[in-house]
Symmetry: C2
Subunit: 186 residues, 2 copies
DNA sequence: TCAATTAGATTACGGGGATAATCTAAACTT
DNA sequence: AAGTTTAGATTATCCCCGTAATCTAATTGA
């Protein structure tokens, strides 16, 4: 209890945003502030010293998740020495892996937050960030002879469906089928 | 208040299931029993005379939504006199229409409930129904030279993304792009 | 017709949720 | 070293949720 150094406080705040971005992806924006703070080793009362409201955190956490996504893509591109095709193929394989299917919390926010975005009508910051994120992703995925939008739809659809049918053999089949389709036409 | 004829009671029950199946698709399974019953012109107290629990209703409403989907597909097939290709193309165009994007409540449950299914771990009835529904849909969509799974992923992904980016021009672009892609390769 | 049944309304209860005021002790500041 | 500031803990308020007991009036059926 009591006070904490400014550095510690800032670090705590950062951890709250990061944890929120993971929990929101995993469980949706319905998780309570109390549970979120507990996951950070803090109590829920302290929340409002750092954030104006839960909505404000949602905006911030969404932005954070998309920044991570961009970084990951860029890192992948660098590792392939700027060879876009190779980087794309690697990303597709990772995207449609069982690890990604099972790791929603650390996974693609476009997939994890899609339904929440569709439902949270409002003109929130989060929605703007999301739309831009989709646009960027599609552009990044485009090839000379295929539209990035369609590729993203197929990837996204496969991941979402694989997650929704997890536990059935169909889930794995969806991943391998989509992977094959996206490899053949790349 | 008071009692109502058996016929009326049965009709009321039916309406609760139908309304629930629409509201769940539109807003997720989080809507309260009270709001649901109010939408049916009833009070929330009466609910437990007809259903064992909210979970039981979720199962029933999910099943209902999928029965509707099957019926719609079969009706489309009949209208095309059994010509599967033509029926498929019509369904794809409807599926990727702005009307379907904007009509989540009456739309495809595979798309509307995907995230909820992924999150509601349990081995509920609803999950079994959902998985079977995906399987059926994919089979129905398959052509001689393309897998139904991939086509479903693309359709589903496009619909979900169009909904999530609604309000931006990107939303329409996603629909038309996916429609074109699914027409070219059919 | 009249007693037994029951659909739906009222009301109550226990649990959580978001938010906010207040408290407290540690970190800053001078 | 003393006073001021403030991060986080405690606690409180108010609202909504699922569930269930109780109530009540209409239907059923003998």
């Amino acid at each position: 209890m009591g006070r904490v150094s400014q550095a510690q406080a800032q670090e705590n705040r950062r951890r709250v945003v990061e944890t929120a971005s993971r929990l929101f992806r995993e469980q949706g924006a319905h998780i309570s502030v109390a549970d979120l703070m507990k996951a950070c080793g803090l109590t829920h009362g302290g929340f409002y010293k750092q954030f104006a409201s839960k909505d404000a955190l949602i905006d911030e956490a969404t932005t954070h998740a998309f920044e991570e996504l961009t970084q990951l893509r860029d890192a992948g591109l660098e590792q392939h020495a700027g060879q876009r095709d190779a980087a794309q193929q690697t990303l597709i394989d990772t995207y449609l892996s069982t690890e990604h299917r099972d790791g929603t919390a650390d996974g693609c926010p476009v997939a994890a937050l899609a339904t929440d975005m569709a439902r949270g009508l409002g003109d929130r910051d989060a929605h703007r960030v999301y739309t831009e994120g989709v646009s960027d992703f599609a552009e990044w995925l485009s090839t000379e002879d295929q539209d990035g939008i369609t590729r993203l739809c197929t990837m996204l659809g496969a991941l979402v469906l694989a997650r929704a049918t997890k536990g059935s053999p169909l889930s794995e089949e969806i991943l391998t089928t989509a992977r094959a389709a996206l490899t053949a036409t790349s």
